[in-house]
């Protein structure tokens, strides 16, 4: 598998990363070598092996349904580049 420049630009766009045209070729080479490495992993025979999510055999820890967080609007808004009262303010996003 080999990525073309258009796919590199598309991946960048989906990730909201601005990529200058001059960088595309270098990124394409990098990404292709990563994909090449994954293709190598694909050679391992995993017939009959259950897919694993997460790196441990632990059971999922669950929380009881109690309210013990929130009420910290100022802290939550603390790093916001812009706010209006208790709201985050962002550039208008309506279509």
């Amino acid at each position: 598998m080999s990525l073309d420049p258009a796919t590199v630009r598309r991946i960048a766009k989906l990730a909201r990363i601005r990529v200058d045209e001059a960088q595309v070729e270098a990124l394409r080479t990098d990404l292709n070598s990563i994909l090449g490495w994954i293709e190598q992993l694909n050679e391992v025979d995993v017939t009959g092996v259950e897919p694993l999510t997460g790196g441990t055999q632990m059971a999922l820890r669950l929380r009881e349904d109690v309210v013990n967080d929130g009420g910290i609007a100022d802290a939550v808004l603390g790093n916001a580049p812009d706010r209006n009262g208790e709201y985050f303010a962002v550039p208008k996003v309506v279509e």
Partner: protein, 483 residues
Amino acid sequence: MAYTIEGASGPWEVVVGLEVHAQVISQSKLFSGAATAYGASPNSQVSFVDAAFPGMLPVPNREAIAQAVRTGLGLNAKINLVSRFDRKNYFYADLPQGYQISQFEHPIVGTGVVEIELADGSTKEVGITRLHLEQDAGKSVHDQHPTKSFIDLNRSGVALMEIVSEPDIRSPEEAGAYVKKLRSILRYLGTCDGNMEEGSLRADVNVSVRKAGEAYRTRCEVKNVNSVRFVMQAVEVEALRQIAVWEGGGEVQQETRLFDPNRGETRSMRSKEDAHDYRYFPDPDLLPVVLEQGWVDGLRAALPELPDAKQARFISEYGLSRYDAGVLVAEQATALFFEGVARGRDAKIAANWVTGDFFAAMNRTGRTIEDPPVSAAALGQLLDLMADSTINGKIAKEVFEAMVETGKGPAAIVDERGLRQVTDTGAIDAAVDAVIAANPEKVAEYRSGKDKLFGFFVGNVMKAMAGKGNPALVNAALKAKLG
């Protein structure tokens, strides 16, 4: 008769599937301990997890998972003992993580079925494809500032169930009946309050059209429809639009559309072509959800009686018609009220009063079944006064209105206003004699065979007795005296 829309080229069939987003009833969010209550001040119910601060880890809420399982059981669906959370990646200002935690490949609930009932009394099964758990996003406010949108993350992270139906729905009526039935089941289960105005229940409506016998044609998704009426309208107007496209020689493009209830039309959301590339992958912050069969069985054992079972019981236990039983079970509180009235009494009379005078009074006064204009106990007492002949049916309506107005019990009103039915045959005979004496020509007509005049005499006797005569005794006295 199957529903079709008549186009220039003949009849078109409508094919509909729904994705319903139902907000889970829980105290705290799906992955954090922040509150879920509606209407709190902006960003006051947000934890660092919900705001996606770096390094914060989600921990699932056991009750939210239980609610999804209960819902699956209520939809007669397969519960998947192993399911998994995935990341659905997209950027939007009210989604601080940059992805929504959802379930893509392995939902917690698999295939099920919902039975809907239509106006002509027929029933139909609508297949459920799946139900999965996911996080809600925050809320964007666009109309407060000329160049900025305001973001409130209170809803961010609240648990949602997405319930996906098979494309089994074939008309606006069926779509409406499906949403109503689903809402009723969710409310019975206590897993979603079903409040469509507050957005606790909203539907994405997938619509396509086709000629009879064809395979499915391209569908469009109408997003975020927030009332049963709008769901029905959206199906119809979107089907009409697609028929016009096909018949105009064009081709329907698969896309996401918005329903505009003011204009009664759908319009394209002009989404960018890669908006749907969500690049799902398993969320590395979360392990698979593994349920024990015993825990699921425990939830099943604790489920309430659901609308279908209750309707069947009302038909067999109380002898109600399917229609009346359906009306009474749609809301659990209504069914409870009815049973409060009907228990130990004539259930058909109870059903008539509840669906008739009582519903009318509730609508007129703007009260609700939770805060009724007349209590079930008081309405029951009124029926008792009819059953033991203290009052007749006509007076009962008068007493009922007085109960609504004054809040007093029926017995007190009957006593106060002297409405007790007259069963004294002496008084009835006297009234009958007076009416006969005052109408010699009518008596002659009646005796010469004009049977229909009997009602005239009954009416006049009752009038003379201020409506309080026992109808059976009045009838008997008239029959005897008129010969």
